[in-house]
């Protein structure tokens, strides 16, 4: 009789607390959601004390790479906050500016201050708001003075960040059309009727109007 009691006890006795801690560890690790104490109790063998086991586990993980944290009424394993940087992979991607963007930028640089309508006239294509926004975001262009013409359109000018990036002291350092041609960048002839000499002079004139 006594022997039977003993057997029965060992059959139904709760596992040692260290074993319960192992169980909690496995459940918290594998569960897709934070686990409540009640849920733990439901999963673990009868007579277990999940709360005590969780607290033991929490102590064990103090100072480790992951921590046992309380999320509302439930418990979960989470990365230690100081190691959050390991969960981020920073990649820096360098991309070439789109053709529309570089052309718009070039026109602004050579013709600043320059309105959107003027950019469109020179490019012969409309300029999307996004292209200008991108250049503004890059801090390569900014708004200049409004033009004193009907509608008072905003103008764009290049910034000192632009000059920095392109290694220029001033926008005056940008080579003129003649130099571009000498450098072989202007192989083809200009459009008929486009008097480049005059164009260049005129361009030199308003190019260096003081920035606002």
């Amino acid at each position: 009789m006594a022997e039977e009691d003993c057997q029965e006890e060992s059959l139904f006795a709760a596992p040692p607390l260290a074993e319960q801690e192992r169980m909690v560890e496995a459940v918290l690790f594998a569960s897709a959601d934070p686990v409540t104490i009640a849920d733990l109790a439901g999963r673990m063998p009868h007579g277990c004390d999940p709360k005590a086991a969780v607290e033991l586990l929490q102590k064990r993980y103090e100072g480790r790479g992951v921590r046992v944290v309380r999320v509302g009424e439930a418990w979960a394993i989470r990365t230690a906050p100081d190691l959050g940087f390991l969960m981020q992979k920073e990649t820096t991607e360098t991309r070439k500016l789109s053709r529309a963007a570089i052309e718009t930028l070039a026109i602004i640089a050579y013709h600043q201050p320059c309105t959107r309508a003027e950019i469109e006239e020179i490019r012969g294509v409309s300029v999307s708001r996004g292209t200008l926004d991108q250049l503004i975001e890059l801090e390569w262009i900014r708004f200049g003075r409004r033009r004193m013409s009907p509608g008072r359109p905003v103008t764009y000018v290049v910034t000192s960040t632009f000059l920095d990036h392109f290694g220029l002291e001033t926008a005056r350092d940008l080579p003129g059309v003649k130099e571009l041609r000498a450098a072989g960048l202007l192989e083809s002839r200009p459009m008929p009727g486009l008097d480049e000499e005059r164009d260049e002079d005129e361009h030199q004139d308003d190019l260096f109007e003081d920035e606002a």
């Binding site: 969960m87 202007l186 200009p190």
Partner: protein, 271 residues
């Protein structure tokens, strides 16, 4: 059991064989090919596959095929191919070796069949052991709340001064990506100018500006004018050298004039 055919067959077999046969017949669809069937049959020998009697096994197999035929069970072709091969093997094992035949001996073939059976059985057992292992998602588990690596993508846009200048050049010229061809349209070659002058010289008895000898219309376009002037000037020098014309210029930047050289005219200008 009411089937008279079956009764007949059963009659000629021992009880043990009959039970085995029945099991086989019930399972005929369950076999995974003749090798699998042979492996099953070999089990009835209750010996290690290393010591199995291939001859006996061949007989068992042939008997099985025989029975299946009588029961009008359609056996797949590969079972029949195996039966033919085993009949051949059986004859090789039973008959004394033919000295003129240099093919493999019956023993060699039997050994190979034994190897195949052992290997198949080994793979069966290994497959069972593999499936009995602890498996992920059943016995052990991966992290339930994986923390995905956040990819922070910084895009930096870049452009070089060259890109900028090229872009501007492109905009300014508007004919980007045009295949490079020499523009001959606005260029007058010296040969062309010479041709024209030669034709006109006989009529040039009076001094006249070189510019009046430019091809028609070329004086209007500045670019054409420049080219035509240069070519015509060069051509005139050539003609002068040949002694066909005379050239004069009143002073620096004054118009250049030419006229045909009169043979009898005293060489005033040349002197």
């Amino acid at each position: 059991m009411a089937d008279p055919d079956q009764f007949d067959i059963n009659d000629i077999l021992t009880v043990e064989e009959r039970l085995a046969a029945e099991a086989l017949i019930v399972d005929v669809d369950g076999f995974e090919g003749p090798l699998d069937l042979l492996l099953q049959l070999s089990r009835t020998q209750k010996v290690d596959l290393m010591k199995i009697s291939i001859l006996h096994l061949a007989q068992q197999y042939l008997l099985f095929v025989e029975k299946a035929k009588e029961l009008r069970i359609e056996l797949a072709a590969d079972y029949l191919v195996m039966a033919a091969w085993l009949a051949f093997l059986k004859s090789r094992l039973l008959l004394p070796p033919d000295p003129t035949d240099d093919g493999p001996s019956g023993e060699e073939l039997a050994a190979h069949l034994a190897f195949q059976l052992q290997r198949l059985e080994a793979m069966r057992e290994s497959a069972a052991k593999l499936m009995a292992r602890d498996q992920k998602g059943r016995d052990f588990f991966a992290r339930g709340i994986p923390e995905a690596v956040q990819r922070l993508r910084n895009v930096t846009y870049t452009a070089s001064l060259l890109d900028l200048m090229q872009a501007y050049a492109r905009v300014r010229t508007k004919d980007e990506f045009r295949p490079f061809v020499l523009d001959r349209e606005a260029i007058l070659s010296m040969e062309q100018a010479l041709e024209k002058l030669r034709y006109l010289i006989p009529y040039a008895v009076e001094w006249a500006d070189l510019s009046s000898y430019l091809p028609e219309g070329w004086e209007l376009d500045p670019k054409k004018r420049r080219s035509a002037t240069a070519a015509t000037f060069a051509a005139s020098l050539e003609l002068a050298k040949q002694g066909q014309i005379e050239i004069r210029q009143g002073g620096t930047f004054e118009p250049i004039q030419i006229k045909a050289r009169q043979i009898r005219t005293p060489r005033r200008e040349n002197g």
